[in-house]
């Protein structure tokens, strides 16, 4: 292949597009790589805003009683922390940044199927994000991120605007998913058969399907809430014979699969990194590929287990328990296949791989605590305690968040054309890991002792673990800022990265770093699988 690392960074896609100014060449671009960068910067900015909200919420608990904010401010903060972290960060992060940047290159295409639609979905994302932040200024919603009826119908705060912003974000998500499905179906390079697709592409493909199928249901549900607030159509209002539990159905039909929208792409990135650093073909390629589809399919049918406590029929609960049991199988398959790959691989230790190890460790704790929650919460009151908070932070931050950070450190040299300082990155990871566990592990203990979640105050007996957790939040915050600072410095001043620093075999590493404008001089002919590490392959 003609591309090599002597092609400077200035000649790649990062150079200004001819005939456009600097700003226009970014804001009006249809290049999937540039759109990926737009997402990278916007999503990481919102992530930092969410982190700051989280740190402030922790800081409030440094002493008992109102310290830096009142109860209703705290309520508004956790709603915003939830909305930002879920809808602005963890749902779009991997598909929108890495999916946009890498999916076309990985399948050997010059761009996604609908480049202009792709730019439009970034604009929808930004519009939704700014609307969500506007609610902060005009009086934040205090319903929590679930907007449960009937509170969300009656409360005077800016629920309509918050709901509308989530609706707009949903449109963005649908358009991205639609684009990816068509791209994978239509634009694979010659020889790129379905079973030669990198596993990351498989996971994005499965995710895209969930986005297409589940998001419209959330959309119409939010439209119904707005219609309810403006016109009082009555479907969720018990005063008019409506049923608020139906809101929960429609909400969780989307929001449970959304958990898989968050986790699947991160798992895909991990499936990409593991074989590269184990230097062997991934164990059970087809099993992982099918398990992505399996998670997407079965995961769409288990929404009911969020509603066991809200007074719904137990006949339905039996079905949902059954499906919940089934969905554990494909997830377990993935973990065992990663471990199977590492087993007897010749492992190369390097920064992205450390992130993957942290991911597997934290995600396992998250999963196990979920089982504990299911099996024990009947006897011990764990519902609505800090235990739940710890559990979903281990799943979402420890799982999806660390998966995303692994992806960021793995593909950074390809995206920017420069290499970051690995020592600083490793150092930040170690402290992130320590800070994470110091922050969230005490929450398991607090939850077990009965500390209710979502409250700005606590009883004297919880002081110790609250303080440990707050110290953890400072370590976590400092290491996140160090990590992102390290990458920012590298993006502008780092040493030029070689074409293929990790020795990977997928297509994106066969083009220069950063990739040229249309990805490939000639569309490659694919003749082997994505994880073929045999010599001379």
């Amino acid at each position: 292949m003609a591309a090599d690392n002597t092609r400077g960074i200035r000649e790649g896609y990062l150079a200004s597009e001819p005939g456009k100014g600097f700003i226009a060449s970014w804001l009006l671009t249809t290049d999937h790589k540039r759109i990926g960068i737009l997402y990278l910067f916007s999503i990481l900015s919102f992530f930092l805003v969410g982190v700051v909200f989280g740190l402030l919420m922790r800081l409030e608990l440094i002493s008992r009683g109102p310290t830096i904010m009142e109860a209703h401010t705290y309520n508004a903060f956790f709603t915003l922390h939830g909305v930002i972290m879920l809808f602005l960060f963890i749902i779009p992060v991997v598909p929108s940044i890495f999916g946009n940047f890498l999916l076309p290159i990985m399948i050997g295409a010059r761009d996604v199927a609908f480049p202009r639609l792709n730019l439009l979905s970034w604009y929808f994302y930004m519009a939704g994000a700014l609307l969500a932040l506007t609610t902060l200024i005009i009086g934040p919603a205090d319903t929590g991120w679930t907007f449960y009826a009937p509170y969300s119908l009656r409360t005077g705060s800016s629920v309509s605007l918050a709901v509308f912003s989530v609706f707009v974000l949903g449109i963005s998500s649908i358009l991205t998913g639609l684009n990816f499905v068509v791209t994978v179906h239509r634009l694979r390079a010659p020889g790129m058969t379905w079973f030669r697709l990198p596993l990351f592409v498989w996971s994005l493909y499965a995710t895209a399907w969930i986005q297409i199928i589940a998001t419209p249901i959330l959309g119409v549900n939010l439209l119904l809430v707005m219609a309810e607030r403006f016109f009082g159509i009555g479907v969720f209002d018990p005063a008019k014979g409506g049923d608020p539990i139906l809101y929960q159905h429609l909400f969780w039909i989307y929001s449970h699969p959304a958990v898989y929208i968050m986790v699947l792409p991160a798992m895909g990135a991990v499936s990409e990194i593991v074989p590269v650093f184990a230097r062997r073909v991934i164990f059970g390629y087809k099993a992982i590929a099918y398990s992505s589809i399996g998670i997407a399919a079965v995961g769409s049918l288990v929404w009911g287990h969020h509603m066991f406590v809200s007074g719904f029929s137990y006949t339905a609960a039996v079905y949902f328990s059954l499906f919940t049991f089934f969905v554990a199988i494909p997830s377990a398959i993935k973990v065992y296949n990663w471990v199977g790959t590492l087993y007897k691989g010749s492992i190369v230790m390097d920064t992205p791989f450390y992130f993957v190890l942290a991911f597997i460790f934290l995600f396992s704790i998250g999963g196990l605590s979920g089982l504990i929650l299911g099996a024990l919460s009947v006897n011990v009151h764990l519902h609505d305690t800090y235990f739940v908070v710890a559990h979903f932070h281990y799943i979402k931050f420890g799982g999806a968040g660390f998966g995303m950070l692994a992806a960021l450190h793995y593909w950074f040299p390809k995206i920017s054309g420069r290499m970051y300082n690995k020592r600083v990155a490793n150092f930040a990871l170690v402290f992130l890991f320590i800070g994470f566990n110091t922050l969230y592990f005490p929450m398991f203990i607090l939850g077990y002792e009965g500390m209710p979640r979502r409250y700005f105050d606590y009883l004297p007996q919880y002081v110790l673990w609250q303080h440990v957790s707050i110290v953890g939040s400072w370590i976590l915050g400092a290491s996140i800022f160090t990590m992102i600072g390290n990458l920012l410095v590298a993006a502008f001043r780092g040493a030029a990265a070689p074409m293929n620093p990790w020795g990977a075999r997928t297509l994106e590493w066969q083009v220069s770093s950063p990739p040229p404008k249309e990805n490939f001089e000639t569309i490659p002919e694919v003749t082997r699988g994505p994880y073929d590490f045999r010599e001379g392959a």
Binding site: A109, R110, I213, P216, I217, G232
Partner: protein
């Protein structure tokens, strides 16, 4: 720079696949209220039947015929475009839009009659009602309103497509935009095909 796998504007199948996927998200959008309708009809059978009897099935049937005919015009317009008959295409598109506006005018009078009787969410005839009648009308207005917005959007898109036909940007060799416009309009029709029995006929 035209290579086999270039991002081709001629990937008709890709463009239509994208459009179909979009249409499916629209199906899901309407699936929500129809699901709620099914649930509440199960819960309040008598109120729903009584409320449904107050709707004029004749007007609903007339609107069905109007939309079906406009769909026919749209399909004929694509056939005409494929055969290169630009004038006929424009005429058929104009007819489609006109029929669409007839549908809306009809709907306007139908809604107006309900408003006159206080049968709307928050209206005096439904105030304090909790036996399911208010829900029926709530769903009726929500769903037909959402559908009406789609009719409006569809008409705007058809007018846009007609302008492109006029300018020659849609022509007998490159007409996938017209096909996708047609797909959207037919979706509006298919949704109505289901809404009509749901609200007017299941008694």
């Amino acid at each position: 720079m035209s290579k086999p796998h270039d991002i081709s504007h001629r990937d008709y199948t890709g463009a239509k696949l994208g459009m179909w996927l979009f249409l499916f998200t629209e199906f899901f959008l309407f699936f929500g209220p129809v699901l709620l309708y099914a649930v509440f009809r199960f819960r309040y059978p008598h109120a729903f039947i009584d409320a449904s009897l107050k709707l004029d099935a004749g007007v609903g049937a007339l609107n069905t015929v109007i939309l079906l005919t406009s769909s026919l015009c749209m399909a004929l317009a694509i056939t005409a475009m494929q055969r290169g008959r630009k004038g006929l295409t424009l005429f058929l598109l104009a007819l489609t839009v006109t029929l669409g506006s007839f549908f809306l005018v009809n709907k306007y009078f139908e809604w107006g009659a309900k408003f006159a009787h206080g049968l709307y969410p928050g209206g005096e005839a439904l105030a304090g009602n909790a036996d399911g009648t208010a829900i029926f009308y709530g769903l009726y207005f929500f769903t037909t309103g959402l559908h009406g917005l789609h009719v409006l959007a569809g008409m705007a898109i058809i007018i846009g497509a007609a302008l492109m036909v006029h300018e020659g940007r849609i022509n007998s060799t490159d007409f996938v935009k017209l096909e996708n416009t047609g797909l959207y309009w037919h979706l509006v029709d298919v949704v109505w095909i289901f809404l009509f029995p749901v609200f007017y006929l299941v008694r």
